[in-house]
Amino acid sequence: MLLLLGFFAGPVLAQDAPSRSAPQSLNPDIALIADVAAAWFSSDEPLQTGGHDPTVTGFNLQQLELSAKSVVDPYFDFNANIVFSLYGVEVEEVYATTRALPARTQLRVGQFLTRFGRLNNSHPHGWDFVDQPFVLGRVLGGEGNRGLGVEGSVLLPVPWFTELVVSETMAGGEATARSFYGPQDLGVDRPWDLQTTVALKQFFPLSSDHSLFWGLSWAAGPNASGRDNRSELYATDLFYKYRPISRSSAAWLSLQGELIHRRRQVPDDVLADWNAYEQLTWRFSQRWALAARHELGTAARLLDGSLAEEADTLDPEWDATRQRVSLNTTFWPTEFSRLRLQGASDLVGWREQPDWSVFLAFEFAVGAHGAHAF
């Protein structure tokens, strides 16, 4: 043993040394992420639906996000995302996540973005586009579907990754539960006055280089059109990624899409509409990417197939299909800063001319390095 130790004049065994992954501190990991954009719109009244989208011609502060995370104790993790705008601050998310439940289960409690679909529970710094797909703003709300509540999830005992997620959250908020109570929160008298969300997420490693993520989501809850009137959302999402890992490469290609069918009970009828987006992203080098996105939202129709028009109190003007095509290029000086040039043509069915927009968006971040979800 002494002879062996003599050979190791460099790195030597230091069994009792504390972990040196980071300076020792009980303070949370904090990051600040700012998104600003210069925007131009051909229309005086752009139809951006996202709460953090550029909305005026000129300079826009999309958001300043303060992200904090830490370990509460052996049982819970803490996460918070607080969003600042020029005019106020809001708690986007604050929740505890269990660390040690049995049978591969997990609970989240607090205010959180629901796991409906794919993009909803992500943040702008993780998006491939400057703005939110309008279909999500239309159906879920400009801030994404979120609410105070509880979520349970489990990894199902099958050989491939399959996660079942169920949550109960408050159903109010124009920007957070738009298809449910929305701005007219009628309160909770019964358990079904909450929004229920169920999602099944499956991942298939097609090979080392090819990945496929498929989700099914359902959300239901009360809407404000009348007592016992409810809304239901049915969605599927698909994410495919090609990223060579069996050989060295900085490039990758991804294809992502979501399809949402929404049904809303209104007095004596049901409104139904279809909403979808699909996007292609090609990161062709370490620092550069190109992306294209198409979005579509049909007009809401009644059970007899006629246009909902005024019966759709959320979007009475939406009496024709709306489609938008966006193209962008992104440059990352480092992973902590990002410059994105994006243009879009918005073919709004109830407007005579398409709306055009151009954004030059800049994101910059400091603080703790966050982990990127897939």
Binding site: P11, S19, L155, W160, Q286
Partner: protein
């Protein structure tokens, strides 16, 4: 009656003989496999062809982690961009940071390039705790192996002696090979090299190399023309014979610099190719074989 039923249930449950070990990088997976032998089943979350800073947190990796008894990582924030998402998604208390099944191997080695003074990212993508690329120094194999053996022994006391014995065997083999490699590469002591990224301080420390410049002006920052010119000038001034880079580096700048200076490009495998059943010592042999021609003056 209840105890009888419980005993029956235990008998019906399949006996799990293997310790399930997940390693963040394939070199740690290879060491864990040698230490654990048939008593362990080892999975690597990344492959040798991947840059360990940039691994996709694919959900199937969380699934593997959900079943793990032990997670072994390099640490020093090397995996910080992707591993925490997998740990949370795994729902496995054992592999959470600080859990009984979480092992940060950076604690077993003396670290180099620990930043001093004020630290911020104006210096590039810095690692506040020190340079994490210590696995390039074969002298780290023994302390890491012993550390892994000790933790395996805590989790699986019945086989603790076997783990320690294998770690010792690996350490002895490594010591023997290290002595031979040092003799073969003694000519490189004092030789000057250029590295692409700051991946080489431990290799340099072991072999007495001097890394005079890096192609990246700062860690994680691709080179610009002015810096490339500076590197070329430094290489010509110091008579640098080779540029060392990880095989997973994709920047073609290195080839441009090589063409201008006549320096060789040594593409060092980023880790053990466990998928080809390589071991950590055969991996180091490959690295030595790449360096050896610099002693003889022939092309690697």
């Amino acid at each position: 009656m209840l105890s009888f039923l419980l005993s029956l249930l235990l008998l019906l449950l399949p006996a799990r003989a293997e310790l399930r070990v997940v390693a963040s990088v394939p070199t740690l997976a290879a060491i864990a496999q040698e230490v654990g032998g048939e008593q362990v089943k080892v999975t690597s979350l990344s492959m040798a062809a991947q840059d360990p800073h940039w691994v996709d947190a694919r959900p199937n990796l969380a699934l593997a982690l959900s079943k793990a008894d032990l997670l072994i990582i390099v640490g020093l924030d090397l995996e910080i961009g992707w591993l925490p998402a997998l740990q949370t998604g795994s729902r496995n208390a054992a592999v959470q940071t600080g859990g009984r099944g979480y092992l940060d191997t950076s604690r077993f080695v003396n670290l180099l390039e620990i930043p001093t003074g004020k630290l911020d990212r104006s210096e590039g993508d810095v690692h506040p705790g020190g340079n994490p690329h210590f696995l390039h120094d074969p002298r780290s194999i023994a302390p890491v192996a012993y550390g892994i053996a000790a933790r395996m022994g805590e989790l699986d006391p019945a086989n603790a002696a076997a783990y320690t014995a294998r770690a010792q065997a690996l350490a002895e083999q490594a010591a023997e090979r290290i002595a031979a490699w040092e003799a073969q590469l003694a000519c490189l002591r004092g030789a000057r090299f250029v590295g692409y990224h700051k991946s080489w301080p431990y290799l340099a420390d072991w072999l007495g190399l001097e890394i005079v410049e890096h192609v990246e002006p700062k860690p994680g920052i691709p080179p610009n023309p002015a810096h490339i010119a500076h590197v070329v000038e430094a290489m010509e001034r110091h008579g640098v014979p080779a540029i060392i880079e990880m095989a997973y580096t994709t920047d073609a700048t290195v080839d441009q610099i090589s063409a201008r200076t006549g320096a060789k490009v040594l593409r060092i495998p980023g880790g053990v190719h466990v998928e080809r059943k390589e071991t950590v010592l055969t991996h180091m042999e490959e690295i030595v074989a790449l360096l050896l021609p610099l002693c003889t003056g022939s092309t690697p």
